[in-house]
Amino acid sequence: MGQTIIEKIFAARTSDPVEPGRIIWLELDARTARDFGGANVVKHLEREYADDPVADPAKTFFTFDCVVPANTIPYANNQQICRDFARKHDVRLYDVDMGIGSHVVIEKGLVVPGTTLVGTDSHLNILGAVGAFGQGMGDQDIAFTFKTGKTWFEVPPTLRVTVKGRLEPPLTPKDLNLAILGQIGSTGGLGYSMEFYGEVIEEMGIAGRITLASQATEMGAVIAMLPPNRDVLDYCRERSGREIEPILADDNAEYVKNLEIDITNLKPMVSRPGAPHDVVEAGAVKGVRVDSVFFGSCTNGRLEDLEVAASILRGKRVAPHVMAKVVPATREVYGDLLKKGLLDVFYEAGVIVSNPGCGGCASGQIGMTGKGEVQVSTSNRNFRGKQGAGDTYLAGPAVAAVSALAGEITSP
């Protein structure tokens, strides 16, 4: 019997039989901890293993992205605990200037198609965007992987999703993503590895793939795997300096379910406050007053996402009552904004641009919402209370940008 992408990746890294539902011991190509969870990882390691070395310092990383730089003493202490540990164990640490860890590991070539990485970020399954296995785990789990280089994992059944139709402007990959989320709900992917196929997927660049893969978590899925196209392979080859054989599903791979998503008549989408899967067409909530707009996050913080926003904001100014914010995903994206003159576009449009990282989602690094405040955010979660007391609509960069200009929810 043939194997799906995840089954093939696993089979190359375990001696256990790989079948859905079976628990295997999986070899990891890399493991990471971020500043959330990182200090707890160190604490577990020191309690359980004292000063023992980690399994392989060259495959072990810290990536700070949540509270960057630290704005309270407890966070500063936690980050320093990680730095001290990293120094002592010769582990590479990507510090507070570098941006979102799940993006940094792709940019730096630490992850390439077919490899495995785990860390303390629940959106690490973003790595499915390049056909790699990534998984967020808790601090005990990650401490164990630092020490042993492996973890136990239950092989998930695979759900095959075929997308019919194309994405033409003003639609962006986020609209596709929200449409799928709205259709299958928060548990539609629960416990599955999803695989995405269709013309629109084949044509999609890395940024769009990251957007799509980043919301597997909100669908309840273990991961959303996108079979790498030539662009992805070229990018990862260049970044890693390695030759890469993409892992693709066998023709006779076994899927637990086949799903078809038709986006032929897709409109720009938003999800309403409280639940990422509460998705409607942006036109259905047109006119809702908007107080703040956030562009960024691991879902929509790439250059391509911010270019969409900038193209709409160029030469204009956001509505006087709107506070708009941009947080690039990584330092590299920030540099690209600078070099391409987009920082200027955002500045002239009246937008706050912050240093890269998880601001906008984590710990109020670029502010939180107040009671009654309505925010349109290009991030991935709008659970009540997560980003403050206000109401957060999720949207793609095009909807967010036209809404920022109009001062109310608007469909591009």
Partner: protein, 179 residues
């Protein structure tokens, strides 16, 4: 085997003010990101459900050995271990839900905290479970009883889950199993 495979206790059934079971409780409702700098388990309990409307007083009301029962997709969202550890901190003896977020489930299993998935326990169960009642749960068979009456059947522990639970946590399990 030294840890109990039968757990009995007073239950807290996670419902909204209209009595509907609560689904999709994410880790920010369980343990808000404002408290993530905390690394000491003893300090975590006080923040359990601190961002879940109607349940903010849970830490002061729950007792050691109590059982928590939730709806579907409990613990979706982030990977924070604190969302599990806050219940350990409060002495909760068992967590039952219709289903769990994948990372949440692992975190609980790895820390040796017993959790068990029981599809339909709130949405379909004949014998409505009410906060304050006592139930008895067999972790090996998944049977959930209220007095003499069997009210639901959960998915029993997997071998790994039972192994880690008995060993105490993932670290102890790995030492005794040479993985």
């Amino acid at each position: 085997m030294n840890k109990p495979t039968m757990i009995s206790g007073r239950v807290w059934v996670l419902r909204d003010s209209d009595g509907r079971p609560l689904d999709d409780i994410d880790t920010d409702m369980i343990y808000h990101n404002a408290h993530l700098a905390i690394t000491d388990l003893r300090e975590m309990g006080q923040y359990a459900f601190g961002n879940l409307e109607g349940w903010q007083d849970f830490p002061s009301r729950v007792g050691t050995g109590d059982i928590l029962i939730a709806g579907g997709n409990f613990g979706s969202g982030s990977s924070r271990q604190q969302a599990v550890d806050c219940f350990v901190s409060l002495g909760v003896s068992l967590l039952i839900a219709e289903s769990f977020g994948a990372i949440y489930r692992r975190n609980a299993i790895n820390s040796g905290f017993p959790i068990i998935a029981c599809p339909g326990i709130l949405h379909e169960s004949k014998g409505q479970l009410v906060s304050g009642e006592t139930v008895e749960v067999d972790l090996e068979t998944g049977e959930i009883r209220k007095g003499e009456e069997a009210v639901a059947r959960a998915r029993p522990f997997s071998e790994v889950q039972m192994g880690i639970y008995q060993a105490g946590d993932l670290f102890s399990y790995a030492r005794s199993h040479e993985v």
